[in-house]
Amino acid sequence: MRLEILLTAVIFFGGTFFSGYALRRVLKIKGEGLLFSIIAGTALWWALLELILVPMTMRFASFRALTFVYSIVLVVTVLYGVYCWKDIIEDGRRFFCRAKEYLTPGHAVAFLLIICQLYFIHHHMYLEWDDTYYVNLANEAVFSNKIYWVYPETGTFVDFDKRYVLSLWPIFYAWLSRFTGVLPTIMAHTIMPWLMIPLAYMVYGLIAEQIFSEERQLRGMFLSMAVLLHLFMSGVHTSGLTFLSITPWVGKGVLAAVLFPMLFYWLLRTAKENRISNWLLLGITCLGGCLLSSMGIMLSPVFVGTAVCLLAVYKKSVRYLLAGIGACLPCIVLGIYYIYLAH
């Protein structure tokens, strides 16, 4: 299983890394570092899947066709990312020059806590009642080659359940399963924690860089406290942070533990620098959130909208407010469509 975990991690983090560089080149963002590319690339991957998956699901396309189209699109972004090798080398050089910045007690504690979390989760299981629906949705895609035609709990044909048709997150790990040849159940329960937990803390690492750009020691301390909070949180079955430990493969869990911190990070950037590239990244992440859960369609604009309203009032800027609405547009469009489908 170690080999499969390693292979999936290489595909996911390697792929998002290069796609992130491609996106950065298009948006003309330079000198942001290696982690930034992974986060931007992840948002891009999820947004692209949402863009491709929804129409293909509606057109009753097969899972094999989806895998083909999505893989081709991602390969193009990855190749374009590889083409940005000068940027990568520049960022890599800067990363190694600044490596000492990451050697603080705070970073060491954070690293140890993350290892402990991964070790514990790898050797334990949490039985999620809803997996019988979501994980089987991924299993059905791989085994029957059908996206969402089959009622996952029994395996019989049914009409679409309108609640989930816009947010088919399990198809993402079904797609990953195709590459590694493991059952989506194993991909979800055993491999996904190795992707989502580091990803979540990468986002917190970037947030730390934004708010403590001049204090490297505090960056490590911030990160270790953020990790500890995920490990010592009340309300195990309701609190968003706990989902990173209990169900890091469930769309809602990824939404609460990865996507909302990602949105926070982009909001920090837009507040600091009102550049179009930051707004586009925020919009792409909002679209990616729609893939994770129908809650993403509803809650992302609430979060972004509230923050943008507050910042627009402070900045006394209507343009800022309009840019925020623009970033929420994917969620607004899908939200209206969701309401149309559900009624």
């Binding site: 029994t154 911030f222 920090l268 507050l310």
Partner: protein, 265 residues
């Protein structure tokens, strides 16, 4: 209005009860608003959580969200409060004033405080040691090793949520939606009678036998504790295997390797 506050309070307590994280959050919000000099950080890390909490408790916005999201998932609004940023950020603002060994000691103290304010998530209360790479109950794996693939089956409720995660080629007579049949007594359809009969400690084979045959179940998996009135052979089933938890019956007409999956509901 009373209902709204009851739901909001219940959900809020479910998220924050059993720890001191909410008071800690409030303290950190105040520290950020007081200490942070950069306004955009003050707004995002300090004021935004406070506003989102106000949105959660405000009946006007609350009832709108309850209608939009559903009453039973109103607690998800609390996911928007950026706890993972606000609490560490407030604590780091306190540490910012200190230097050297004092900062390290204070950091250690705050880490301990943070752990005491919450409760351990990685606890055996919620997790159990995994015995297989599927991370499913071992009895599910054991039954899947007994059952062939590509079959239509009726299985014990203990296996029902997990069995297709282990072997997706098995189709089931009913899923979790059948749990809603529990307690029904009148005007029952055949599938409801079938489910309810299969739940009884003493199964009347003369009732269940014809129904599972009509449903096209080639395999039946019952808990070992079940007893039977009647003979399964009368309805064309024979015992296939027994392990320490379950007894498996098979349709006598079933041939090894046959595909008996049922796609139509």
């Amino acid at each position: 209005m009373k209902d709204f506050f009851e739901i909001a309070k219940t959900d809020f307590m479910a998220t924050f009860a059993g720890g001191w994280l909410f008071p800690l959050l409030l303290v950190m919000v105040l520290i950020i608003i007081w200490k942070e000099e950069e306004w955009h950080r003050k707004i995002l890390a300090g004021i935004l959580p406070a506003v989102l909490l106000a949105v959660y408790w405000c009946p006007l916005t609350g009832m709108a969200f309850m209608r939009l999201l559903g009453e039973n998932v109103y607690w998800r609004i609390l996911w928007l409060v950026p706890l993972g940023v606000t609490i560490p950020y407030g604590m780091c603002l306190l540490l910012k004033r200190l230097q050297g060994i004092w900062r390290q000691c204070a950091f250690l103290f705050l880490m301990v405080l943070l752990a005491f304010c919450g409760s351990s998530v990685l606890s055996t209360e919620w997790f159990e040691p995994s015995t297989n790479i599927y991370k499913l109950p071992q009895n599910v794996i054991d039954i899947c090793e007994i059952l062939p693939g590509n079959i239509h089956a009726m299985v014990s409720n203990r296996l029902m949520p997990y069995i297709r995660q282990c072997d997706p080629t098995i189709t089931l007579a009913y899923g979790r939606n059948a749990l809603s049949f529990n307690g029904m007594t009148e005007d029952l359809f055949d599938n409801q009678i079938m489910y309810l009969e299969a739940q009884k400690p003493e199964i009347d084979v003369d009732v269940l036998g014809p129904l599972v045959r009509d449903e096209g179940c080639t395999f039946l998996v019952f808990s070992l504790s079940r007893t039977y009135v009647g003979d399964w052979a009368d309805y064309g089933y024979r015992e296939y295997a027994v392990n320490d938890e379950f007894r498996v019956f098979v349709d006598e007409d079933y041939k090894e390797g046959q595909d008996t999956r049922k796609w139509e509901d």
